[in-house]
């Protein structure tokens, strides 16, 4: 179906045809024609954020919690540059986004016009792909191509930069049918020989482990189901990255918890001592591997990833399988059923016995207090309070994020939104806005730190405007906690610029912005305060004043291997544990 319309109308038509229901944005001179079209229609809801970074994070929250493409609309110049952090965040975490930016009219491009910037130049390294649309004839094709590129293969953010004269120009619009890209054809089916080989290796393993990541979530809920089936069939232990939490039930016996720098002892030791690692949709990130030359020294590695460039990037693997996790797992399970490999049950039992010893050390244990709220305790109480509820969590970045990852247990995918790759402080509030837009009747909680919150707290105002009852649960320790922890462990306790001297009164702040503020300072009052927070049908800032000196353990220090972890009790001799070279790293 083709119709005559303006570029601005095409944008709205394409968004509708692509199933976009919510658009996060901020108007400005170069996108006024598109905003005019938004005004004239009712199918797409526009959410006016308070800063463009918030628009992108909100779209990320929306995308992560629904599996759909997030949509963003911002103006030229500062609108585009403010979006850059969010775009980079989405690129690192493989989140599908389409970000439409306005641009000055084509004849002014290159003239340093008002609110002009080289948007495609600036966003080239922080998007999966981007386009500057100079001719109205190209606009419909590019709009549909953009959605295709964003959501297929390894998902990621894309930018479409549309000059204002192209928005005004008239052309022929056509729908999303028969869009076949000339060059871009991601591979989804895995190589069958590699899959057969992998199944054989799984059958022969004595000390195996599944190491899973965000790729499972991105592949869709079906992939999580298949993962569960495969893990149950094999009886193997499984660990997950920060990004993959929820793909496998957090409370299941076979789940060892998160691995990596702040992962559990059992997960990291199992990786270290394993003879087979089955990596499913994860990418051997430096937070996971620790010291590379000591990473899983005895293990053969199978790596399932949709992005060929993830294979052998950091860790050389034995069996690479390029393909979509869902497709590959389906084939693996089929081959498994056909070939019926016989697992060495005795060896596997010995492996589980070993894991039981590591588990027995209870690496997440912390010293409880009835004087002061321990941050871990606060998250545990929060977890208890939301049990059985339809709940989504977002986080900021830092200690609170790691504690949340350690202590919350997720049974389903798409319930956990956190900035993993880029580590963007300020992610949580706008992401919660996006999640709550997608799930208006669910409980959406941002586990936050007081420093992160200060970075994007203007979005509370957005939540108030759209009556989004998000809960901002601040573990307030008055420090940039993770910075303070590293300064304590690595820089002789010199807390350079990591203390927040002038924090707002968060209760009053919440009230000033039109929400509800709750403060809690005593462990004995925590449960009642959390219950009150959940009951309130408005945005809430919960100022949970916690122990400022608490550190996040376990921890693999810089430059150390999986079997060289630090624990809460071992803090005194930290000086011997981290060497000079380790201090160079972050």
């Amino acid at each position: 179906m083709s119709r005559q319309m303006t570029g601005a109308e095409m944008v709205i038509a394409a968004l509708q045809d692509q199933g976009v229901e919510v658009l996060f944005g901020y108007p400005g001179g170069s996108v006024l024609p598109i905003y005019d079209e938004i005004f004239k229609q009712e199918k797409i809801r526009h959410v006016l954020v308070r800063h463009e970074q918030g628009a992108v994070h909100a779209a990320e929250g929306y995308a992560r919690s629904t599996g759909k493409v997030g949509a963003v609309l911002v103006t030229s110049g500062p609108g585009a540059t403010n979006a850059v952090t969010g775009l980079t965040d989405a690129l690192l975490d493989s989140i599908p986004l389409v970000c439409i930016t306005g641009q000055v009219p084509t004849h002014l491009i290159g003239n340093d016009a008002f609110q002009e910037c080289d948007t495609v130049g600036i966003t080239r390294p922080c998007t999966k792909h981007n386009w500057l649309v100079k001719r109205i004839e190209d606009l419909p094709r590019i709009l549909h191509e953009a959605f295709h590129v964003a959501k297929s293969g390894r998902p990621g953010p894309v930018v479409i930069d549309i000059p204002k004269d192209v928005q005004f120009a008239t052309g022929t619009y056509h729908g999303p049918k028969n869009i076949q890209h000339k060059t871009y054809r991601p591979k989804v089916k895995g190589d069958m020989d590699a899959i057969r080989h992998a199944v054989q290796m799984i059958g022969k393993a004595h000390r195996p482990i599944f190491y899973t990541g965000g790729g499972v979530i991105n592949s869709g809920p079906h992939a999580s189901q298949l993962l569960r089936e495969l893990v149950k069939t094999t009886g193997f232990p499984i660990t997950s990255t920060l990004m993959g939490l929820g793909a496998y039930p957090g409370n299941d016996e076979q789940f060892l918890g998160m691995l990596g720098m702040h992962g559990t002892l059992e997960a990291n030791m199992a990786m270290h001592e394993s003879d087979l690692i089955v990596c499913v949709g994860a990418r051997f990130d430096d937070r996971i591997t620790g010291r590379l030359d000591a990473f899983a020294p005895h293990a053969k590695k199978i790596h399932i990833d949709i992005d060929p460039s993830s294979i052998n990037k950091i860790i050389k693997v034995d069996v690479p399988i390029v393909g979509d996790v869902g497709h590959v797992l389906e084939d693996m399970i089929r081959v498994w059923k056909q070939t019926q490999p016989t697992i060495d049950k005795a060896a596997l039992q010995k492996w589980w016995d070993k894991i039981a010893v590591w588990r027995g050390r209870k690496c997440l244990a912390y010293r409880a207090s009835d004087e002061i709220i321990k941050p871990q305790y606060a998250i545990q109480r929060l977890r208890e309070a939301v049990k059985g509820k339809d709940v989504y969590f977002t986080t900021e970045v830092g200690q609170h994020q790691m504690w949340a990852a350690q202590f919350l247990k997720f049974d389903e995918p798409n319930r956990w939104m956190t900035s993993g790759g880029l580590g963007t402080m300020g992610y949580g509030i706008p992401a919660a806005v996006g999640v709550q837009m997608a799930h208006p009747n669910s409980l959406v909680i941002d586990i936050a730190g007081e420093a992160s919150v200060m970075m994007t707290m203007q979005e509370i105002s957005t939540a108030v405007q759209y009556r989004l009852p998000i809960k901002i649960f601040i573990l307030n320790n008055h420090y940039m906690g993770m910075v303070r922890q590293w300064q304590e462990l690595l820089h002789g306790g010199r807390y350079s610029e990591s203390y927040s001297e002038a924090l707002p009164d968060f209760v009053k702040l919440a009230e000033a912005m039109g929400g509800v503020g709750i403060r809690c300072e005593k462990p004995s009052e925590l449960d009642a305060a959390i219950a009150e927070m959940i009951a309130v049908k408005k945005p809430v800032i919960f100022d949970c004043v916690v122990d400022p000196a608490e550190n996040c353990f376990p921890m693999i220090p810089s430059g150390k291997a999986h079997n060289e972890m630090l624990f809460g009790e071992a803090v005194e001799n930290i000086g011997d544990v981290i060497d000079e070279k380790g201090k160079m790293l972050v």
Partner: protein, 178 residues
């Protein structure tokens, strides 16, 4: 002992030089994407040549000579292949049948014996004289990069003024398209 979190030194591999042929859609910004990938990820470019090769299909061929360990070369190829406007990436060095040539224009100034010697060497290297004055020549020379290196080296003491090189253009031998 290596104590870094980050990739690179974990397996020692010696660097190799590879010639990659990258066929891309000739759209605005495609070269910036390729070059930005190399600078952004810290890869080397020793030589880069680009020009439209099939006008109707809007295709360009980018020839890149790069060095890196085998793992890095594999990364470079995968990263290039993942760029949306890239049709295909061919490692001509791996296919083993690479035909690589470069063209250079070399300006030499001199009189007397040096001038005669420059002309004689030009002949020996099958360089053509494409511009001449009573006190200078411009040579045009085509060949492998090391041949050009050698010729430029010889011209040094004979009055070399400046020179310009195209960078390597490469294609595979035999009847098949690479």
């Amino acid at each position: 002992m290596n104590t870094t979190h980050y990739p690179s030194a974990h397996i020692f591999q010696s660097p190799e030089t590879h010639t990659l042929s990258v066929v891309v859609d000739n759209e605005p910004g495609v070269l910036a994407r390729v070059v930005g990938l190399f600078s952004g990820r810290g890869y080397n470019i020793e030589s880069l040549t680009v020009s439209e090769t099939e006008h109707e299909k809007h295709l360009s061929r980018i020839t890149i000579v790069t060095t890196g360990t085998p793992m890095v070369i594999e990364q470079i190829k995968n990263q290039l292949d993942r760029l949306v406007p890239v049709h295909r990436v061919v490692d001509l060095t791996v296919s083993g049948k690479v035909l690589a040539r470069e063209l250079a224009l070399i300006k030499v100034k001199g009189k007397g014996e040096a001038r005669v010697e420059a002309l004689r060497l030009g002949d020996a290297f099958r360089a053509r004289v494409v511009d001449a004055t009573t006190e200078s020549f411009v040579f045009e020379i085509t060949g492998k990069s090391d041949k050009i290196d050698e010729f430029v080296g010889l011209m040094g003491p004979l009055g070399l003024v400046e020179y310009s090189r195209t960078g390597v253009a490469a294609i595979s031998r035999g009847p098949e398209a690479s």
